[in-house]
Amino acid sequence: MRALQRAPPPGGGRCRVKRKTKFLAGAGIIVVAISYLIYSAARETSAYYLTMDEFARQRASLAGEPIRLAGRVTSGSVHWDPKTLDLDFQVQPIPPKKGATAASTLEASDARATSAAPVETLAVHYNGVLPDMFADGRDVIVEGKLEQGVFHAKSLLTTCPSKYEAEDRGAGEAGTSAPKVEG
């Protein structure tokens, strides 16, 4: 067995080198093709992911850009017309969590910095069925564009500070998510 493995590979000379170059070129083409696919798709489908605080700071420069925005539904701001499926509400920054872990401390400190200022809100418009978990005070992620001061959401996801099984798979229009079992 050993001897076999150590045996020098058959074939040799220039022919082998040429073949190797060919294979490397072939593999190279594939790598380049995949890289190009990634690059072009990423350029056309990516969106900024922002929290409401970050959004508020650079509001002016973001008009018309594809944005994914995380915020909290302002209490009492929800208007829902079941006949036309028009939904209008306001979002505001999500206050820092108690006992926030490493992943969210950054957002938390951002929120603290702005807590002295009046709460910034943003009007959101969405057309479609209400997700099961949508309600006043819930944390949502809206995806869409800011046009004339109103955020036109193509999709609306409800999330909550939740546990492991809140694997929110419904990234579609009517995203669903888990209950708020613990604070």
Binding site: M1, Q5, R6, P9, P10, R16, R19, K22, F23, G26, A27, I30, V31, I34, L37, I38, A41, A42, E44, T45, S46, A47, Y49, L50, R68, P82, K83, L85, A100, T101, A102, A103, S104, V129, L130, D132, I141, L157, T159, C160, P161, S162, K163, Y164, E165, A166, E167, D168, R169, G170, A171, G172, A174, G175, T176, S177, A178, P179, V181, E182
Partner: protein, 667 residues
């Protein structure tokens, strides 16, 4: 009982540590008694984790709400079956469950190899127990599943209603089994590297484990898709969510490994590549666990922020650094016995297939971690959504299915255009015909036309392989057609089992393409008696029924489905989409109703319902050919079982079965 469980995990952890030390020291000093002690530790580890699982299960079934886990994931009204499923419904329980499966695999491996592979086994034991010790350490020191509350709640907060579904009871165990069993090939690969016994023994020993793991990864992914499809109610089955991606990536690299390993067995090539794939597959399963539990990519989807992230990250780093260092150290022993002779050969097709599979895995990985990377690099979080994954992977998937068709018709070593033309002329003709028919049928989506043609090509190639093989046997052995076919498969399980899997893959591919390209959607708010139109169907809203139970309140819409046939409408089915309200967690959910045929699904969702006006909003989808995904999945599973089934030689003398018919590569 929980005290016993707690003791069991503490002892289990210590036993694992002993097992690692004993095995490594035994291998180092060639001390048989130390190695035997390591083996015993592996068995003891299994027994102890089994006790811990039993203890947690007992707490769940006796509804001991003083235990934090029980209070958080069950309730008095939760059905028994889901109470058992709650064992893996929460993070702590799932980690324990994971460790338990690993321990069981470890024991099976120890037993299978009690008289074999004595050089490798101490290292295998050490690797498997290290992984086990890591998971138990999390449970012992960081997040205790047997933690008690300072008070005893009268009622639990119940299992997440989204998990109270039959798919969800089988999806996580399948996926976990798939994840965990990747540890076995990994452990053997590391053992081969550590011991320097880098022959094909480790590959032959773990071949069936790799298949077994792949089988469960496949099922786990499909069950997950089925769950998303019937539960989440957005009309689809795959959203490129990080959790899904986490399960998909190891499947891709495992698939690549199963293919490239044939080249190593047959030609002695790609040895380093195979090592890399095994290490990658295992690392991706750990990465998946990390992803779902760390909160790093929590930005879009809410996973837990359990603080376990750094531990997983550290563990992952250790795995990668240690195994790559070993690999580099052993590079001189991993020389190829052969070289690729032509870029135009089956070997090259295998290699290409590997590149594409790893390429898909890489794009999925890239898209999943993109927000994190962009935040590091440009300090702004940028996400890519499902369109990114679809756009990148669609051409790659087409290429993959094409290669699947080319594989069997291209010659080993060096193919000629003439021979390739002879073998692929029929299938190519079928492909062009299919494309023309689809185009004539009105499809103007060129991606779909090409995809269907390529799938037809692959399917025709498979069919002709079966046909030719059967005919040859009929002619030579004078057998009847069915006998010939079943013996053909039986005598070349690996080859024809593989072909059956490929047929399944082509079916899944067709189902995915058709249901994503030709999907029809409609959404409307209607009064009782009014209809929603979708495609050739009319959905008439006939009324609402309310069913109030102790566990859940159901609001069920009665909808009759009518099909327009010329001018007249005829009733064909009725569907009952629901809104549910789970009383313990006070959570509403949506229950879709699906009318499924081989041609496509009619998927109806009760979007919202207003009790006062009785107005109901329906969302309806037509998902063409979607059920071929599930049928294809069953076919894939069947093919894998054919591949795994022991050959006669192996059944009679398991040790002596070296390179019999079963291990021959498709020729």
């Amino acid at each position: 009982m929980t005290e016993i469980g707690r003791l069991a995990i503490v002892f289990g952890w210590m036993v694992a540590l002993w097992g690692i030390i004993a095995s490594l020291a035994g291998a180092w000093r060639r001390d048989r008694s130390l190695i035997a002690s390591g083996t015993h530790a592996a068995y003891a580890f299994s027994a102890l984790t089994a006790i811990a699982v039993a203890a947690l299960l007992d707490a769940l079934l006796t509804r001991d709400f003083n235990v934090e886990y029980v209070a958080a994931y069950s309730s008095t009204t939760l059905p028994t079956w889901y109470t058992i499923a709650a064992l893996w419904g929460g993070m702590k329980g799932s980690l324990l469950w994971w460790t338990f499966i690993l321990a069981v695999c470890n024991s099976i491996v120890q037993f299978q190899n009690r008289e074999k592979n004595r050089d490798l086994m101490p290292y295998v034991t050490a690797v498997m127990l290290s992984v086990g010790a890591f998971f138990l350490a999390l449970l012992v020191f960081v997040t205790d599943p047997f933690e008690r509350l300072p008070f005893t709640p009268v009622e639990g907060s119940d299992l997440n209603p989204l998990l109270q579904n039959y798919w969800m009871t089988i999806h996580p165990p399948s996926l976990y089994i798939g994840y965990v069993t990747t540890t076995v090939p990994f452990a053997f690969a590391i053992a081969a590297l550590a011991s320097g016994k880098l022959g094909d023994v480790w590959i032959r020993t773990t071949r069936r484990w790799a298949l077994f793991s792949w089988f469960f990864l496949t099922l786990g992914n499909l069950f997950g898709a089925a769950w998303a499809y019937v539960v989440l109610g957005w009309g689809g089955y795959w959203a490129w969510d990080p959790v899904e991606n986490a399960a998909f990536m190891p499947w891709l690299t495992a698939t690549a490994f199963l293919h490239s390993v044939m080249i190593q067995e047959k030609k002695g090539m790609l040895k380093v590549w195979n090592m890399v794939l095994v290490i990658l597959t295992f690392s991706l399963t750990i990465f998946g666990t990390f992803l779902t539990r760390s909160g790093v990519i929590s930005s879009v989807h809410s996973f837990t922020q359990s603080g376990l992230g750094p531990f997983f990250m550290g563990f992952l780093l250790v795995i990668l650094v240690a195994s790559l260092a070993l690999l580099i150290y052993r590079l001189p022993l991993l020389r190829s016995r052969n070289e690729l002779e032509s870029i135009f050969s089956r070997e090259a097709a295998f290699l290409l297939n590997n590149l594409v599979l790893v390429g898909i895995a890489f794009t999925v990985f890239w898209g999943t971690v993109f927000p994190v990377i962009s935040e590091w690099v440009r300090s702004v979080k940028i996400t890519v959504g499902p369109p990114f994954f679809n756009r990148v992977n669609a051409p790659l998937a087409v290429a993959l299915v094409f290669l699947m068709g080319v594989g069997p018709v291209i010659a080993w070593r060096r193919a000629t255009l003439a021979s390739l033309w002879r073998t692929s002329f029929g299938p190519a003709l079928a492909a062009v015909t299919c494309g023309a028919v689809v185009f004539a049928g009105g499809a103007r989506n060129y991606y779909a036309v090409v995809a269907f043609s390529i799938a037809t090509f692959a399917l025709t190639v498979m069919a002709s392989e079966f046909w030719r093989g059967t005919r040859a046997r009929q002619a030579m052995m004078h057998e009847g057609a069915w006998t010939a076919l079943s013996r053909l498969i039986g005598k070349n399980r690996r080859r024809y089992g593989g072909y059956v899997i490929h047929v399944g893959v082509a079916m899944v591919f067709i189902g995915v393409v058709a249901s994503s390209v030709f999907k029809v959607e409609a959404q409307k708010t209607v009064k009782i008696g009014e209809s929603v139109e979708i495609g050739a169907y009319r959905l008439r809203y006939d009324g609402i029924r309310v069913d109030d139970g102790p566990h859940v309140l159901r609001t069920i819409a009665q909808v009759s489905v009518w099909k327009a046939d010329g001018d007249k409408l005829s009733p064909i089915a009725s569907v009952t989409p629901e809104k549910r309200f789970y009383k313990k967690p006070r959570q509403p959910t949506t229950e879709v109703s699906i009318w499924s045929t081989l041609g496509g699904d009619l998927y109806v969702v009760l979007g919202s319902f207003d009790p006062q006006s009785q107005l109901a909003t329906f969302q309806a989808y037509i998902n063409p050919l979607v059920c071929w995904m599930w049928i294809g999945g069953v076919v894939m599973a069947l093919g894998t079982v054919i591949c795994m089934w022991p050959t006669l030689a192996e059944r009679t003398s398991p040790v002596e079965a070296r390179v019999p018919v079963g291990t021959r590569v498709a020729e």
